[in-house]
Amino acid sequence: MDFNLDEGQRALADTVRRFVARDYGFEKRRAIRDSASGWSRESWQALADLGVLALNIDETHGGLGYGPLETGLVMNAFGAGLLLEPYLAAAVIAPALLCRLATADVQAEWLPRIATGAAIVVLAHFEPGAHRAATRIDTLATRKGDGYAVNGHKAVVAHGGAADQLLVSARLDDGRVAVFLVASGDAGVSRRDYPTLDGQRAADIVLNDAAATKIDAGETQAEAQDAIEAALDVGLAALCFEAVGIMEATLAATTEYLKTRRQFGQPIGRFQALQHRMADMLLHLEQARSMSYLAARRCTEAAKNSRQHALSAAKVTIGQACRHIAQNAVQLHGAMGMTDELIVSHWFKRLTAIEMNFGDTDSHLQRFVELTRTS
């Protein structure tokens, strides 16, 4: 296995890292977080100009046709800056789903606009109380004229408030799952947009006879369900890289704090108990980094069971690392780690949220056991 990046990959990572360092500082992020929308259209345009919104879109649709590793490098670079824009939802998961499921016409209409940042499309899939069950869908779609009308409730939809178009999963009359494009401004869509613990935005979305266009010609039984899970798996791999990026930054900042904070006449980093704590954090980080590479390699595999087996292993390792590193970073900063003033508490909250997103550690541990049994 070759873990060395090629020149293009290194340049991509450097470009994004420079953008975060120069144009997405902590104070700027705070202002964006506290703004009405909770994200910045200006920063979104800057990302479009860098080309990173086009990463997951093929060249025929105006994209760059890159893969999960390049996406991971971008997400990793976003990590330290705690980007608030809907990158994962709109530039990773939505294109992954459209590429897998949508008709050529739908792809031709939306992918180029996603690539340039002109349209923000977000998957609204999970329903209240069912975030660990990707297959539980109660939203219904019924035929209405040329299109469909959808009725249902989607809960804690990441960046649902930022979306121009929603990709809504719903059941047809015969019980099959299909995916629909719904304009977020449709009269049948009511969105409640709110901040989450980590400073990002999510929305609860109630669909009441919302006008919907089915995106696929799908005839087979599980095509749409499989495509949704495949797109979420691509998203999960990207999330793993974001987590590693935050943990890298957290470890570096905590190391620096231990070198400068003095108590009992010396830097607290001289105390062996704290040195060992840092060493444990490093072990977690390196194991997590390894699993992020595994996730990138395996997340596009067609065979669902073996793909999800690998991704569950990655999420368990990374979720445990998130919890361990976040808690210890705050602890080692003492009460300073609890303050809003230091970015470490913001990394702590994002790592906490990442651990809970896309299925928490225990859910994936359980799924790993089940998939091991059936394979």
Partner: protein, 356 residues
């Protein structure tokens, strides 16, 4: 109780209510208006209050400064301060930590200089205290201040009572990760404090501070609160359907088992205290295990609610049981940091119990 933040007046109302029943100072002897309970009776009281979901008693007055005033204060100080502590007329805050003196508390720098003047002798206090819990409500603050800058670290410290209304005292809020205004910075700029507000002897403050830290530790384990929170965890997990998951059920079982052990350890310490052996370094065992258990419960509650725990403000959003569980998890990270971090507690165990 569901993690609701109470206002000053709500806390004061609870303290007054208890006081009217003669229970305002559970650890206080009868001569100062307390119930004169044994450690075992106090423990039962704490546990019943917690089980009933009563507000926690704010410790700074009744449990922290009051025992010091009883043991080392003079008659005038006892008469002036104790009745208003137990009746909740005056709210107290703790002035120990400083930006440069956390775990290494004895390195504190807030200076109190004694001045003789026509209006009576007083101290001029300059410096900064920090992490002052609920200092925004305080009428008075008890402070460790340096009265002899020449003496070795612990020797030149005094225990001073400062009226928060005195000119030169400034309270500034510290914004924390949970968005709750709980801790503050307290600044002292040429604050004039009458010498009558010195407790005990000048430069003996460290002895009183250690007395305070070693006192009133029967509740440090928080067993009653942990039992109540464990019951709440089980309700949340049942509602969210997570007790059916073997992994999750095992995690809840593990914390329950840890708590069963801690309860007995706690009773052993109380029993030793009852036999007139003052609580010693065993309190560190109780502090570490107690905080670990409360943090584990908060973590599991958040996990049980899953993504429903993430919305920041949940007035009418998501299921009721999930309200503020994410924020609560963040808030309780403080437990292993404050009151002597768990690392410092382990140092105490290594040195005082193991003799290393």
């Amino acid at each position: 109780m569901n993690g609701v933040q109470l206002a000053r007046e709500e806390h004061a109302l609870w303290q007054r209510t208890l006081h009217q029943r003669g229970w305002g100072g559970p650890g206080w002897p009868k001569e100062f208006g307390g119930p004169g309970w044994t450690p075992v009776q106090q423990y039962i009281f704490e546990e019943e209050c917690a089980a009933a979901g009563a507000p926690r008693l704010i410790p700074f007055g009744t449990r922290m400064v009051a025992p010091v005033i009883m043991a080392f204060g003079n008659r005038a100080q006892q008469q002036r301060f104790l009745p208003k502590i137990i009746s909740a007329e005056e709210w107290w805050a703790q002035g120990y930590s400083e930006p440069g003196a956390g775990s290494d508390l004895a390195s504190l720098k807030t200076r109190a200089e004694r001045v003789t003047a026509a209006g009576g002798d007083h101290y001029i206090v300059n410096g900064q205290k920090t992490w002052t819990t609920l200092g925004q409500y305080a009428d008075w603050i008890f402070c460790l201040v340096r009265t002899d800058p020449e003496a070795k670290a612990q020797r030149g410290i005094s225990f001073l009572l400062v009226d928060m209304k005195t000119a030169g005292v400034t309270v500034r809020p510290i914004a924390t990760l949970d968005g709750i205004h709980e801790v503050n910075e307290v600044w002292f700029e040429n604050v004039r404090v009458p010498v009558e507000n010195l407790v005990g002897e000048e430069n003996k403050g460290w002895t009183y501070a250690k007395f305070l830290l070693g006192h009133e530790r029967t509740n440090i384990a928080g067993v009653g609160i942990a039992k109540r929170e464990l019951a709440r965890l089980k309700r949340i997990a049942a509602t969210a359907g997570r007790l059916d998951e073997p992994l999750f059920a095992a995690r809840v079982a593990q914390v329950e088992i840890d708590l069963m052990a801690l309860e007995i350890t706690n009773l052993r310490v109380i029993s030793a205290e009852h036999a007139k052996r003052a609580p010693g370094p065993e309190a560190s065992i109780l502090k570490i295990k107690g905080t670990e258990i409360l943090q584990a419960i908060a973590e599991l509650m958040m996990q049980a609610a899953g993504m429903d725990a993430l919305p920041l403000r949940q007035e009418d959003l998501g299921p009721d049981h999930a309200a503020s569980l994410g924020v609560g998890y963040c808030n309780l990270r403080k437990l292993s940091i404050f009151g002597g971090s768990n690392e410092i507690q382990k140092n105490i165990i290594a040195q005082m119990i193991l003799g290393l």
